[in-house]
Symmetry: C2
Subunit: 334 residues, 2 copies
């Protein structure tokens, strides 16, 4: 069920001029006093709402406010983001999503935070998570797939994020292209823009739940010096800020659509073409670091199981599973 | 560090006659009053301790008491059971172990309960867990192996339990043979004796933690009617009860030894011979139920990755992964 606040936000955004109090009361089925109280709350949350006698209310500026109602009012999905848990500050959205999962939260639950105190990267690394400028979100799923297929969902999410970001760049006439660095990073201008971390709780043949965490540098103004060559943000590349709630909604939409394609075959065969189009590794020389083994080759894309195909000098094709090796581009940016 | 109570139990058990209060004080470095207090506690827990003036203390009967000290005083392992958490009653020892893991518990932590309220079987099924007669335990591990190799640890545990139980049967001159029904049951007299449930929390290429839950019907007197043909207990087969704490200690010892062999190659190659010796499936006709596919064949043992090898009529060998199919013996008992 949509909350009244979510409905008010939707109505205000869709209205070019003023929306009278009377109209709002009728559409929402609440009293004038209730409308007035909601408007007060929204103003407190940072929305710039003008109230003019005999005309009504008008949203004069759509600020980059993150919050449950703001996100919900923009979602157009069936299940991805069915429940939204927003926190100003949290340890890590993955940790929160796992807790909710243990308590029985439904598949499609989305956890979003404005700030993370213990952001997680792969293998327990720390993920820098400053306040008020980035997207930290985790989607909880209970997919009926085998645990060994879970890694493919990292790629489905990577593709979804890349597509959503590319759409923003295109609409702003920005000519830059978003790329995916297999398996779990999204890069822009050869710098890291997005990191994805998938975790699951599983039995041998059964996923109890899976969480896909996404961290995106959206409106990050400046990076610490040691990261300036390695990381970028949408704001840094576009020159202006981007609405985070809308970006989240766009990613959820893309993910839901891509997942429907994945689900048909339980592999990536239906998404390979789109994935190749945004792959940073494709046709690039790479170095594969396997325990006790190291070799170079040319990345030739991925197969339907999400494995990176690397052509060696003798033209043999190696299938590289995300888990077993670390892959480095021969250029430093990947 | 061993607790004083654990030390007292060890001393009492190793002493054939009486152990004087003076001797106990010296060996433990505590006062007479302290010794007296510990004896009082032990009696309350069910130990039958005789105290005779001028002679000292004597453990006249070693009852089947489950408890932290009782288990610890019998463990001879290096890491398996490093920490023991005992609860009279719990929801499920797997659930408890996972909670402890999230809170940072060390690899080797062992959770034991006398009774489970929400015992778990595979795929969310219920596991019957009555009080005072069975072993419900979960070993927490943080192994440095790939998630897709985790299923092999179910087999390592199955083998360890089968070996420990067989040793008891042998020492009692019982001629019955324990068998493993691939992948996660141990059977005796063609009936289920033990169930094993492995769960893990993992990233794509990294196991955060893994819990191996073991449920054993030890001194179960009678089973509900619908289970009488399907389940058995050690007591039912031997005609008398078995000390559960000692059984736990024996299993931990076997597991630690077997795991050391597993760890060298990160597969089952060093344990195949022992596994085949106790396999219920080996050389037996089986039916393999794969989604959309069903066939019969003869089970020819497992390979080093723990997959069941099934020879079909045309002599092709299928490698059956624990997760992907359900295997039924053509005879009803497996």
């Amino acid at each position: 069920m949509e909350s009244t606040k979510t409905k008010i936000l939707k109505l205000l955004r869709s209205e070019k001029g003023y929306l009278s109090g009377q109209e709002l009361c009728e559409k929402l089925g609440v009293s004038r006093t209730a409308v007035w109280k909601y408007m007060k709350q929204l103003k407190e949350e940072g929305y710039q709402i003008q109230a003019v006698q005999n005309k009504g209310y008008c949203l004069v500026d759509v600020p980059d406010v993150l919050g449950e109602s703001e996100i919900k009012s923009r979602l157009t999905t069936k299940w991805a983001g069915k429940e939204v848990y927003f926190q100003e500050e949290t340890d890590s959205t993955n940790t929160q999503a796992k807790k909710l999962a243990e308590e029985g939260a439904v598949s499609g639950t989305l956890v979003v935070a404005d700030c993370q105190k213990k952001g997680k990267g792969r293998r327990g690394r720390v993920w820098e998570s400053p306040k008020g400028s980035s997207v930290y979100m985790t989607l909880l799923m209970r997919p009926d797939i085998l645990p060994q297929r879970a890694s493919m969902l990292t790629l489905v999410m990577g593709l979804s994020v890349a597509q959503a970001v590319q759409k923003i760049l295109d609409s702003e006439k920005c000519t830059q292209k978003v790329q995916i660095k297999w398996p779990n990073d999204v890069v822009l201008n050869r710098k890291k823009l997005v990191g994805i971390l998938t975790e699951m709780s599983a039995q041998i043949d059964y996923i109890e739940y899976l969480v896909i965490g996404v961290g995106i540098n959206v409106n990050t103004g400046e990076f610490p010096e040691e990261l300036q060559d390695k990381a970028t943000s949408l704001q840094a590349e576009l020159g202006h800020s981007v609405n985070r709630a809308e970006l989240i909604a766009q990613i959820m939409k893309r993910f839901e659509d891509n997942y429907a394609i994945f689900e048909k075959t339980q592999d990536l065969s239906g998404l390979l073409e789109e994935y190749e189009a945004v792959s940073a590794n494709c046709q690039q020389p790479v170095k594969v670091l396997e325990p006790g083994k190291e070799y170079t080759g040319i990345a030739r894309g991925i197969n339907k199981m999400g494995e990176l195909l690397v052509e060696r000098e003798d033209h043999r094709i190696e299938q590289v599973y995300a888990g077993e090796v670390s892959v480095r581009g021969l250029y430093s940016y990947v």
